[in-house]
């Protein structure tokens, strides 16, 4: 995205392009927009790598008794795929969107702590590279283990010294701990920016819903990331100093790791999906030509999710044999989350109802999100029923469920967000034709892959198995799932081509290509380093509507 104006004096158009100067500008920047773009590009880079890993996993499982990969490599692949997709793809892309958009949407010139922001990005990137470096370095001198192979939730006692020799697990711990510091930096930054830097008139209840929702996301990160860090510190003490936290031989508890991990891990799911809601809450109104339906209720539902999600973690642990009381509590609290989430779905539908819907690519992704996230939510409610979960825990049904959440929910909205805000970032529109190819191929491929896996799971296929015997009725579903991967890969190819082509050749976008209503569209595309020449004053939730329709401004009715 070389067209973004640089913070340091950019070489004028007449000057010859100098790679060192250009690179120096990006590496030393503390501009929230450049950091946002770098977060997203880094996330997409990791996405391609760990997506390729997923493709290898699917190829291994395409037919029974396949020997395409060695079994140890298979374990490393699913561990690295899961870990990277959550911590190195989801988190940074979300951090990138928050960084780029929050100051623009609230009429500020940068984040509250720009240098902390830059530190957060670079420490995240270091952590990400450290995780992949384990392939080379983890065997060390002992010759034991390569990349981590303990699964993304790294259950004890598999992570103990006795079962995980060498340093593969240490790489898992340290890289995630370090990139977590990066997430924390951007979360604190978002909270402080939103609380302290809103432009004149931007009261809390006039903030765009995107800002409201990422504020809740940032609060969740601040509260729930430390439990993971704490558990990882304990595991490090176990592995290096011989502490006994998770050493079952010395009275330590493997279940405690599960509790600590999921106290982080479940709210983490909401950290990942809420930004999807945030994006949908911006795109759906603009492409339905209506203000969001039930703004205040949406805010309330978001805050509700932020609280309830802290009390549901043990629904990941129904099969460890908790008391009936605990099972009942966590089943109920999990179902409660369905209420605010359902409210949101109906409000998005209410926004579209009677609207003048324009099916441009961002809207296509958001509409698919509505359908797919509904499926994900319904299977989620099914899994919240403890006896049902006893049958299907750790099966491919669970795999299908959370891929519907994270791909069908989050990734689709991220694609929507990229198509929607790309013109703001680069000044050029993305190609609508390539975008449609991307959308249809990816939507088809995604559903082909993950819908059949529900059935494979119900038929008893456990997750994380290396291979399986023929004759259990799993063959057809696995075959279809792997065929779907080809369509997804093709879709991603169209997406990457679209990014590359449009950033150079795309149609000029102008400041406000979608006729939108939030402040980021009031400045130029791409925005200048200082964002706004004069800081705006806001009188309603749709400041640009007021500007464009002085005779019928929103503040008269709000």
């Amino acid at each position: 995205m070389a067209t973004t104006p640089s913070r340091t004096p950019a070489p004028a158009a007449s000057e010859p392009f100098s790679l060192p100067t250009w690179l120096h500008g990006w590496v030393t920047t503390a501009d929230h927009k450049r950091l946002g773009v770098m977060y997203i590009l880094a996330g997409l880079g990791f996405f391609v790598v760990s997506g390729t890993m997923a493709a290898l996993i699917r190829i291994q499982l395409v037919v029974p008794n396949n020997q395409f990969l060695p079994p140890e490599m298979f374990n490393r692949l699913f561990t690295m795929h899961g870990t990277a997709m959550v911590f190195l793809v989801g988190m940074p892309i979300i951090a990138g969107l928050m960084n780029y958009l929050v100051p623009l949407m609230i009429g500020a010139r940068d984040m509250a702590f720009p240098r902390l922001n830059a530190f957060g990005f670079w420490i995240f990137l270091f952590g990400g590279c450290l995780l992949y470096f384990s392939y080379l370095a983890a065997p060390g001198l002992s010759g034991a283990g390569s990349a981590p192979d303990v699964g993304w939730f790294a259950y004890s006692p598999l992570t103990g010294k006795a079962f995980s020799r060498g340093h593969s697990t240490d790489y898992w711990i340290l890289s995630i701990l370090i990139s977590g510091i990066g997430s924390l930096c951007s979360a604190v930054n978002v909270i402080v920016t939103v609380v302290c830097m809103r432009c004149r008139g931007m009261t809390l209840m006039r903030m765009p819903l995107f800002v409201w929702i990422v504020l809740v996301v940032a609060y969740l990160i601040v509260i729930v990331l430390p439990p993971l860090t704490a558990a990882q510190i304990m595991l490090l003490l176990d592995r290096f100093l011989g502490a006994k936290f998770f050493d079952t031989q010395a009275g330590g508890s493997a279940v405690l790791w599960q509790h600590f991990f999921w106290i982080f891990g479940h709210p983490e799911v909401y950290i990942l999906i809420l930004p999807g809601f945030a994006v949908a809450s911006e795109i759906i109104p603009v492409f339905s030509r209506k203000p969001i339906f039930g703004y205040a209720v949406m805010v309330g539902a978001t805050v509700m999710i932020g609280f309830i999600s802290l009390g549901v973690w043990a629904h990941h642990m129904f099969t460890i044999g908790m008391s009936a009381m605990s099972n009942a509590f966590f089943a109920t609290s999990t179902m409660l989350v369905g209420i605010p989430t359902g409210i949101k779905l109906f409000n998005w539908l209410g926004t579209m109802w009677g609207g003048k819907i324009r099916f441009r690519t961002p809207m296509l992704f958001c509409v698919a999100f509505l359908f797919q996230f509904l499926c994900a939510g319904l299977t989620g409610i099914m899994l919240a029923v403890a006896p049902f979960d006893w049958q299907l825990s750790d099966s491919y049904f669970v795999v299908a469920h959370f891929h519907y959440v994270l791909i069908g929910g989050l990734l689709f909205t991220i694609f929507g967000a990229i198509y929607y805000w790309f013109p703001k970032v680069t000044g050029r529109l993305m190609s609508e034709r390539l975008g449609r190819w991307h959308f249809w191929l990816f939507a088809l491929g995604f559903n082909l892959t993950f819908a059949p896996l529900h059935i494979a799971g119900i038929l008893g296929m456990p997750r994380r198995i290396y291979t399986y015997d023929a004759g259990r009725g799993w063959e057809i579903w696995n075959l279809v799932a792997t065929i779907g991967v080809a369509f997804q890969a093709l879709g991603i190819l169209f997406f990457v081509a679209n990014l590359l082509w449009s950033s150079r050749r795309g149609a000029r976008a102008g400041d406000d290509p979608w006729d939108a209503w939030t402040l980021e569209w009031s400045t130029t595309s791409p925005p200048p380093p200082y964002n706004f020449e004069t800081l705006p004053t806001v009188r309603s939730r749709r400041p640009l509507w007021d500007l464009k329709h002085p005779s019928d401004p929103d503040w008269r009715v709000e």
């Binding site: 509250a112 702590f113 924390l184 979360a187 604190v188 909270i191 402080v192 609380v195 302290c196 830097m197 809103r198 004149r200 008139g201 601040v222 509260i223 729930v224 990331l225 430390p226 439990p227 860090t229 704490a230 558990a231 510190i233 304990m234 003490l237 100093l241 011989g242 502490a243 006994k244 936290f245 010395a250 009275g251 330590g252 508890s253 405690l256 600590f260 106290i263 004053t537 009188r539 503040w555 008269r556 009715v557």
Partner: protein, 198 residues
């Protein structure tokens, strides 16, 4: 329905939002509290679950002196901050020095306690669950004391060089907030480890 007049009043009304430093520091303290909570939970969860001795009730004695030192350092830190606000630089530096000395006293007492526990009682981090959770929790707190002492010392040195201006009051205030937080955490750790856990 609102009138244009009431809306235009927006331009003249003061538009004041909270200080970035304060909100940022509160976020940091929130996340630190969450971190400590997990270590406290682990300590309580493993109370009495050690398979072998030495057990805390036999070897831990209440660190009254260290606790008094740390709690009173909060008072001196607060006095330092007040002196700074009033522009009394000498008093500010003296109180800061007292705070640092009290903090060092706390750390020294902890070091002596650990020395006795390790060398005399053979109570170690890899000996049993009690040792594991004790050194993790108390050590995590002590590391926060060390960070606080480093920050206090830097401020004292800068102030002695005359490089701390009165407009930096809020920064000094943030440092004392952090120090109060470390003290408050000690009260929790003290109750959990030495009172409730013995």
């Amino acid at each position: 329905m609102r009138t244009p007049e009431s809306i235009d009043a927006l331009e003249t009304q003061p538009w004041v939002l909270p200080s970035r430093r304060k909100v940022g520091l509160l976020c940091l303290l929130a996340t630190e509290s969450a971190l400590f909570t997990i270590f406290v939970v682990a300590y309580l969860f493993y109370l009495g679950k050690s398979l072998n001795g030495p057990y805390p009730k036999d070897i831990l004695s209440i660190p009254w002196l260290a606790s008094v030192a740390l709690i009173s350092s909060s008072v001196s830190a607060d006095l330092a901050e007040r002196a700074f606000r009033c522009g009394n630089r000498g008093r500010f530096q003296a109180m800061l020095a007292v705070t640092i000395l009290l903090g060092l006293g706390f750390l020294g007492a902890t070091a002596l306690e650990w020395k006795r526990l390790i060398l005399v009682e053979h109570f170690t981090i890899n000996g049993n669950l009690a040792g594991t959770t004790f050194y993790a929790l108390v050590g995590l707190h002590a590391s926060h004391v060390i960070v606080g002492l480093l920050l206090l010392t830097v401020v004292l040195l800068l102030s002695l060089k005359g490089a701390v201006a009165s407009r930096q009051h809020e920064r000094i205030q943030m440092l004392t907030w952090y120090w109060h937080f470390v003290d408050a955490i000690w009260i929790v750790v003290f109750l959990v480890v030495y009172v409730f856990g013995r």
